[in-house]
């Protein structure tokens, strides 16, 4: 079963852009679903706190469909790569756990205040 995931990579900001692109391509090759990957480059960004000696990081967000069996190998490749400062893989399925609130529920919750006044 394929599920939708979202991955955030923080690369060492001293790396060249070409090197970062090459690393991303290498990671994504392990997912075996090259057509369904969308990649969003945030670029170099100030980190909220220092990670080791680093003050800035190169942020990349990728969304992809994959089966869970390919993830351990993919994660291992990132873990072993020195250029990746941090990464986070999350399920990009908002319906996991409780179903999302319907418009009706939202409206009811937003109206709550008015109802309380009437009590």
């Amino acid at each position: 079963m394929t599920r939708r995931y979202e991955a955030v990579y923080i690369f060492d900001s001293t790396l060249e852009d070409a090197a970062i692109k090459e690393k991303i391509a290498r990671f994504h090759a392990l997912l075996q679903s090259p057509d369904q990957i969308s990649v969003d480059h945030w670029g170099r960004r100030q980190l909220a706190y220092k990670i080791g000696p680093r003050d800035t990081g190169y942020y990349v967000i990728a969304r992809f469909h994959a089966t869970s069996s390919v993830l351990p190998e993919y994660e291992r490749a990132m873990k072993l790569d020195d250029g990746v400062v941090r990464y986070l893989i999350t399920l990009f399925e908002h319906e996991v756990g409780a179903p999302p609130m319907t418009e009706e529920e939202m409206a009811r919750a937003a109206r709550q205040e008015d109802d309380d006044d009437e009590d």
């Binding site: 941090r86 609130m101 939202m106 006044d117």
Partner: protein
């Protein structure tokens, strides 16, 4: 006397999912020191508060928002 209930800012904005990458929104729900603001103060409903606390913890890990602010080492 019962406190008048505040309305949830996420419900009012019709937000279905609290995004951990949105530092400007998350920044509204943390204190000056970086702690998660209790729903009693912010008025966030239970469902969105659960999503919010997960989102803040993910954002902290990714160095999007700090774990501690205003702390001099």
């Amino acid at each position: 006397m019962r406190r008048p209930q505040k309305s949830c800012p996420f419900c009012e904005g019709r937000v279905h999912y609290v995004d951990y990458k949105d530092d400007r929104t998350l920044g509204r729900f943390i204190t000056d020191h970086g702690k998660i603001l209790p729903s009693r103060l912010s008025g966030v409903c239970a469902r969105h508060q659960r999503q919010l606390s997960t989102a803040i913890k993910r954002a902290r890990y990714l160095a999007i928002i700090p774990y501690i602010r205003g702390h001099l080492a």
